[in-house]
């Protein structure tokens, strides 16, 4: 699947296109198919997102997983600070990135 990501203009936080708006959680990301360029242009010009780009990902019962490690780190947060990730209660969540 092709999903869209970028950073929130005000906060810089990593966000993912959920079909309607931008979510902090990669599991909410939707397959945009061949609509990526159109959505990115619209969303960037409306200032809802900073420097959006499209990436490949897979989806299964565990959720959405970006294909590249860099985007998995973006999706989670720094692996060396589990307390600052989106899943601070799971001390082994860093393994998801690898």
């Amino acid at each position: 699947m092709i999903i869209l990501t970028g950073n929130d203009l005000k906060t810089g936080a990593v966000v993912w296109w959920d079909g309607v708006s931008w979510s902090a959680h990669v599991d909410n990301a939707v397959d945009v198919g061949d609509q990526a360029a159109e959505i990115m242009a619209r969303e960037e010009s409306s200032r809802r997102v900073n420097v959006p780009y499209s990436i490949e990902a897979t989806k299964d019962e565990n959720g959405v997983r970006p294909a590249h490690i860099k985007d998995r780190v973006r999706a989670l947060g720094p692996t060396v600070r589990p307390d600052l990730t989106l899943k601070p209660a799971d001390p082994d969540i860093g393994e998801w990135v690898i």
Binding site: N7, L9, K10, T11, G12, A13, V14, E44, R47, N50, V51, A67, H68, I69, K70, V73, R74, G77, P78, T79, V80, R81, L84, G94, I98
Partner: protein, 542 residues
Amino acid sequence: MYQYDKYDQAMVDARVAEFRDQAQRRLEGKLSEDQFKPLRLMNGLYLQLHAYMLRVAIPYGTLNSAQMHVLADIADKYDRGYGHFTTRQNIQYNWIKLEDAGDILADLAKVEMHAIQTSGNCIRNISSDHFAGAAQDELVDPRPYAELLRQWSSFHPEFMYLPRKFKIAVIASDTDRAAMRLHDIGIQIVEKDGEIGASFYVGGGMGRTPMIAPNIREFVPLDQLITYSEACLRVYNRYGRRDNKYKARIKILVHELGAEEYTRQVEEEFAHLLEQGIEPPLAELERIKPYFADPAFEDGAKTVDRSDPDFALWVDRNTHRHKHDSYVSAVISLKPVGGIPGDATAEQMHLMADLAKEYSFDEMRVMHTQNVVLPHVKIADLHALWTKLDAADLGTPNLDQIGDIIACPGLDYCSLANARSIPLAQKISERFAEGGKQDKLGELKLKISGCINACGHHHAGHIGILGVDKKGVENYQLSLGGSEAEDTALGKITGRGFDEEGVLNAVDTVTDVYLAKKEDGERFLDTYNRIGMAPFKEALYD
């Protein structure tokens, strides 16, 4: 410490107001990201993996307690309770909001700090010896010269759009504690026939094409220091490779022209500039110097009570000889076992500020090795200081040991990185501390970069590790024999790379070779230089 005059303060205040307006216009959609990006970078504001990142300049790494308290307050108020001290003697924050950037810069300006020229193709923060003004072996304090260069390079209109970023280091001793020859310009303050002057090394650097700077002039009189620097920059600005980002640093120009031809062109430009009279009067240097005058040192105890072995070990490893025999410079390690190199919490920053006030004449230095120095500590106060540091996890006795690792933020934070650096640093630190092997190894400088840009100085590590992306998987190249000290050398790659566990074992293996082969008094680097790569390679790959 240098204190802003009305011009310094006016320039910084004006920049705060200007950037606040630019950020507001970006938030309102009046500026696109393409328009805004160069403006935010001029003020140290990057967009990194997780958020905006702000890099704050700490000129030649020197700061006082009030400044450190503000840095801690920024960590608490605007970030997530911590900051990261960098190899450029700066600090950066990883979780900044664009809407807060103007307020942060205003807070910094109140204590004579800013984030100007911490990014972009301009002259960056001038770095220097972290023991400047305290070291027993220095000719003079190099910081007045670094400050003069800071003033010259700040907002210099001719050098705001160089082909690439530009880094200058200034030292004043034969022992190089600032990686001077791995800078675009490295300046050593020297003495010749009783006169103080500057020796210029130009064209060094790390990154994807590491180079050691050749000496292009052994002595420049002090009343020509700025003029000669300007000549070096002018030749680069004119002929640097703007067509190719990867060949745009001055090291490539010096290499392609040859040091001799580059020097000829600099000398020609220098002769021309001398006629223009651009050199600031020596009176300006004399105005600056008193700001760096020695504090009022007092005679006192020359030795410590070594009955506590933990304290004695810390004294042996983390203090440095001072020019006054009743004082030492004390290094606060930001490398606890298993910790993140260079990170400090807001609480730790407040404590360091308080301890500097109490024990070190209100002064600290950030080291390029991502630690913090209290430059002037009475020997009589060392035990009290160590007790407070140790209680705050700031007393790890590992200066220049294998656990004192330089590591870039790597893929955990940096958008340029290909692999994570910090987890590897943490695991090496734990493995060598817990087994007690660190104590057997002595001085061993290990440096890790998460990509070829080499922010973790891996080329200059006695052991260097470079993280690369191998078909989407983290892979690590090992190199041996680098140094950023006065014996500057670039490490050589051992061979094929390793996965994370593999490179951990490889570090174990090469240190085993060292322990088996070392002769009396040899450091790891000395043994490597004597026996060469072959025995290490054989142990790693055969």
